[in-house]
């Protein structure tokens, strides 16, 4: 979180210096001697808050405020007027034009500081709420509304996004008759930006599938193309993603997948629980990267678990992270349970330092019944 920047607009030299000095202890302060200069400062960088005198040579406070109101990117900057006397006329005029606060000279510096703090706080809360809403909206779009229903199989999905979480994504479609394609991925980074890129990235995957589904059913070939697109795109240049593409053919109990550096799935059978280990390079690094398809047959009474790294990175009371080892332990006893994912999560939380998960959690459980 950066330091707030304040622009002080005041023609009287002594007062300008005083404000610069006092506010400078807490904020990054720039100054201007009139409205004209203030517009130059704003053009160099938009401040978080403006404190302006009203009566000034060249451009006065009202003209400055009106000019900032005309531009979309400066309209919302909190604005405090300072004026020489309790001038009711000016005060009313100021309030009408959308000034946020008004302080009469001579003023108490502590009072000014507390008003600044209050205004900045308000702006920050508004921004945070807005971010959270947009983030939530993205999160919902990156997750499925339902799951495929196939006789002989049970499918479960769980997702708890964190407000400052990353770009987890999950999607599925019946790409070919009787064949389902699942997309599980994680776009690197945190917060709204990661969610935005995850959203764009998912469109790539869908677009690629749409364009290529007639030509191929190979997850590895789709993966190669997604990687090429990601590397060619200027906007997505700084985007790296781990991705697992999985084709499920329930009639033959076959799973074919290509894994680009994503967390490795866990296979749970009544006899043992193990990591499905084949995996290739993460996307966005090498335009010529090759990917391979791996196929496995899901035996009766067994399940495959797909997930993102938030699950593995949970801290345990032993001082270690859950890791693949911890997940294997939690998964083996969940097979056949009414809600297996819940059972896995609870078993991990019982050993965790924190009573909740610290990062985004995404788990998909696909189980073949006995």
């Amino acid at each position: 979180m950066g330091e707030y920047s304040i622009l002080v607009v005041e023609d009287e030299h002594t007062l300008r210096r005083l404000l610069e000095y006092r506010l400078g202890k807490q904020y990054s302060v720039r100054t201007a001697a009139n409205g004209d200069e203030a517009l130059d400062r704003v053009a160099e960088g938009i401040p978080d808050l403006i404190i302006s005198d009203i009566m000034m040579p060249k451009m006065d406070g009202f003209a400055l405020q009106a000019s900032l109101q005309e531009q979309k990117n400066t309209r919302a900057v909190p604005f405090i007027f300072l004026t020489a006397k309790a001038d009711e006329h000016s005060r009313l005029k100021g309030m009408r034009t959308g000034v946020d606060d008004y302080i009469t000279k001579p003023f108490d510096i502590e009072q000014l500081l507390s008003r600044i703090e209050r205004l900045l706080e308000r702006t920050k809360i508004f921004q945070t709420q807005l971010d959270a809403r947009i983030g939530q909206d993205f999160s919902q779009k990156l997750m499925p509304k339902n799951l495929p229903r196939v006789e002989g199989y049970r499918a479960f999905f769980h997702n708890t996004p964190r407000e400052h979480g990353g770009g987890d994504l999950f999607d599925w479609s019946e790409a070919w008759p009787g064949n389902y394609l699942f997309t599980i991925g994680d776009v690197m980074g945190k917060g709204l930006q990661a969610k935005f890129y995850a959203f764009s990235f998912l469109s790539y995957v869908r677009g690629t599938l749409h364009a290529m589904s007639r030509a191929t059913r190979s997850p590895a070939e789709l993966m190669k193309r997604v990687n090429q697109l990601l590397m060619e795109d200027q906007v997505m240049e700084e985007t790296f993603a781990s991705l697992l593409l999985m084709r499920w053919e329930p009639s033959r109990n076959l799973i074919t997948y290509s894994n680009a550096g994503h967390c490795r799935p866990i296979l749970v059978t009544p006899e043992r629980t193990e990591v499905v280990s084949e995996s290739d390079l993460i996307l966005g690094l090498d335009p010529n990267a090759d990917f391979t398809d791996e196929t496995l047959e899901l035996p009766p009474n067994s399940a495959l678990i797909f997930y993102t790294d938030g699950l593995l990175e949970q801290q345990l009371r032993t001082g270690e992270m859950v890791g693949e080892k911890g997940l294997i332990g939690a998964a083996s006893s969940a097979l056949g349970r009414p809600d297996p994912i819940n059972s896995v999560l609870n078993s991990i939380l019982q050993k965790s330092i924190s009573p909740n998960f610290e990062d985004d959690i995404l788990v998909f459980w696909l189980e073949r019944e006995g």
Binding site: M1, G2, E3, G166, D186, M188, G189, K190, E237, E238, F240, S242, A260, G261, C263, R264, S279, D280, L281, I282, G284, L285, D286, D309, G323
Partner: protein, 116 residues
Amino acid sequence: METTMSFAVEPLNDETVIVRIGKALDFRNAADFKTACQDQVRDGMRNFILDFSETGILDSTGLGSIFSLYRQVSPLEGQVVFAAVSRPVQVVVQLTRTYKVFRQFPSVEAAREALS
């Protein structure tokens, strides 16, 4: 607020540089790492030895910043290599299969010899 996290950078020759990663490379200092490396690339450096001997945390944002560096230097025929990789870093490298891209050396000394 000025971030105080900085990275010790030690030139080996006119195109190779050693960057000490320190205790953590994560969402808090990944931007600083990126800036530090960009400055080096601008100065003509294209081979980077990353010293992970003290590193306990490497998260996906941190790894992303290393990937950005890789994408900057690979068109220049440059390399990014990992030296003295600690266990937590090794876990991340294994998971993302990035050992296919970043050569690893047991020590900075070994990397230094290989690249000089």
